[in-house]
């Protein structure tokens, strides 16, 4: 009876995951979707704790279980609540790592249940039969395969996520050595080789290999993420995310548990697609991201490959102040630089000031401005800019022709005309913000250095454009002072 109720709980869980994910992919319903999935998760977990039984035996160690859950809940909740909005990708990466580790630990424990018989009796066939009944007739070789899969994928996901986390909060620097990729491939082959060997002929004497595989997997996770450019971490996290999903699914096979299975596969599939979509949005291929063709090498200030060309004209703060306060419509194009300078609050202040002067101010948000999708939305939301003022690319491009001044704050690639004109450019084909449709374009950045893609930007040399050098925050503050003093 109770087991039957449990089945129902799991069924509900699986369905809510699907529905939740569906709702999550639509702005209108996203937030509810998250709650739906959470609800399903709660049902599945509680069901397991109170209803699960294996050949008639219920679960024990409630003390430990509730203790663990309590700790996890408190810590997780606080961490998630406290974290600054702009640091959320790190958080996601961290939590993803936890999931991976969890999967790996499960494998380790189950492995020790599994080997015990071996250490006693060497006859393989013997335990074979034992397990046969014990493990919902999944037969031992298959059983070992699943354990190993869970271990390897889980560990890679864990180690990788930790590095990604480190990179995002700047603790870990990009790093790669010659032949890195070959090294990784060799590592992977070694892991798979050992695993196969273990499955084919497993006995007490080579059981230790299991831990070797564990170690190598962690190593692989580290070196897999190391060479990838810090800016590409969102993509990497999404990929590791789907890995963890698969690891969870392994658990589903292990315990013949449908909700783990379906939930895991669901995330595995959706995560993979999502990763690809993310790459598409910056129009690059996944391979290109992983090999880190430019993400790694040229990203950020000091990026190479910038050849000076043509002339650009600068504009003074006071002129900027005048132009903007007498404009009737101003569009602000925020970019990665705004995030680096943490200038969102100053920016919001400028906006309010101009609005008071009767200037109509809007923000033009490029989908991949910044370093994660929605980065700018998060950033400006933090400085509570009202959502109505944010325009998506399509809208914005319709607005520019009627705009007097476009103020570009630390954005570069997303306004680079090369994406439309120059087929040889690495960002060719990426939709951009057509700022040149506006009457004047003012660009704020610290230098003529290129942006993420590490390429020259013609826009800066166009007649309509004038440069306003300096750190975004500083510049905005001075600008505000200027306008006030007009």
């Amino acid at each position: 009876m109770e087991l039957n109720v449990l089945t129902l709980c799991y069924l509900i869980g699986s369905v809510t995951f699907i529905i939740g994910l569906k709702m999550l992919s639509n702005p209108a319903s996203a937030r509810k979707g998250n709650l739906v999935a959470a609800g399903g998760m709660a049902i599945a977990i509680l069901g397991t704790i109170f209803l699960y039984e294996e050949n008639g035996r219920k679960l024990g160690n409630y003390g430990w279980i509730f203790g663990g859950i309590a700790i996890g809940t408190v810590v997780g909740f606080l961490a998630a609540r406290k974290v600054k909005m702009t640091a959320m990708p790190e958080m996601v990466s961290l939590f993803n790592g936890m999931g991976g580790a969890c999967a790996a630990l499960i494998s380790i424990v189950e492995f020790n249940h599994f080997r015990e018989p071996v250490s006693k009796l060497t006859d393989f066939e013997e335990i074979f039969r034992e397990l046969h009944m014990e493990l919902h007739n999944s037969y031992s070789a298959g059983f070992l395969v699943i354990i190993l899969a869970g271990l390897i994928i889980g560990s890679v996901s864990f180690a990788g996520s930790m590095i990604a986390w480190g990179k995002l909060n700047g603790k870990v620097k990009d790093f790669s050595f010659k032949g890195q990729h070959i090294f990784n491939i060799v590592l992977m082959i070694a892991i798979l080789g050992l695993a196969t060997y273990l499955v084919i002929d497993f006995n007490a004497s080579n059981a230790y290999l299991f831990y070797v595989i564990f170690a190598l997997s962690l190593l692989y996770g580290i070196f897999f993420v190391f060479p990838i450019g810090g800016a590409d971490m969102p993509v990497v996290i999404s990929l590791l995310n789907s890995f963890t999903g698969v690891a969870a699914a392994c658990g589903g096979f292990l315990y013949d548990n449908k909700v783990m299975l379906t939930g895991g596969i669901l995330v595995g599939a959706a995560g993979t697609l999502l990763t690809i979509l993310m790459c598409k949005a910056m129009n690059r291929s996944l391979a290109n991201v992983l090999i880190g063709s430019f993400g790694g090498s040229k990203a950020g200030p000091g990026g190479g490959g910038t050849k000076e060309q043509g002339l650009y004209k600068e504009i003074s703060l006071s002129d900027t102040a005048v132009v903007m306060s007498y404009a009737s419509k101003v569009m602000i194009v925020p970019g990665y630089g705004l995030a680096v300078a943490q200038a969102q609050h100053a920016c919001h202040e400028l906006e309010k000031l101009l609005e008071e002067k009767g200037v109509n101010v809007r923000y033009a948000i490029h989908p991949v401005a910044g370093r994660m999708p929605g980065h700018m939305n998060v950033l400006l939301a933090e400085a509570d800019v009202s959502y109505e003022k944010l325009m998506e690319m399509e809208q914005a491009n319709e607005e520019f022709p009627t705009t007097d001044v476009v103020l570009i704050l630390g954005a570069n690639d997303v306004v680079n005309p090369a994406a439309k004109s120059d087929p040889s450019s690495p960002i060719y084909g990426m939709p951009i913000l057509d700022v040149e449709l506006a009457k004047n374009v003012i660009v704020n950045k610290r230098s003529m250095k290129p942006g993420y893609a590490g390429i020259e930007n013609d826009l800066f040399f166009r007649p309509k454009t004038s440069m306003l050098f300096g750190d975004a925050k500083k510049v905005l503050q001075d600008l505000i002072a200027e306008i006030k003093s007009l």
Partner: protein, 103 residues
């Protein structure tokens, strides 16, 4: 070959479930706008926290003298919970900013 086929037959139901789930996973998020990529990733991240169920089972089955199982299991439960709770809470916070979305 032969064994693979019989394996398929034995597990055909599971195989169907997995395959269909893959289709669902792909189709269901096919239309996501890029601004939702990050929250969606975070939401999916929370969902795979379902692995905690495995941790609970491990924990609950562990004999009282089997300290390895107890300790690792306990750790697993903690980490799993972190994944689930943290995941959903972060996602919810990310999505707060969409509430005014007039779509």
């Amino acid at each position: 070959m032969n064994s693979i086929l019989s394996w398929i037959t034995e597990n055909q139901q599971i195989i169907y479930i997995v395959i269909l789930m893959i289709f669902v996973g792909i189709e269901v998020i096919g239309r996501v706008p890029s601004v939702l990529h990050t929250p969606l990733m975070s939401g999916a991240n929370a969902i795979h926290g379902v692995v905690i169920i495995g941790a609970i089972i491990v924990m609950g089955k562990a004999e009282h003298d089997n300290y390895l199982a107890l300790i690792l299991g306990f750790l697993a439960v903690v980490l799993g919970t972190l994944n689930v709770v943290g995941g959903f809470v972060v996602t919810d916070r990310m999505l707060e900013m969409f509430k005014k979305k007039k779509k």
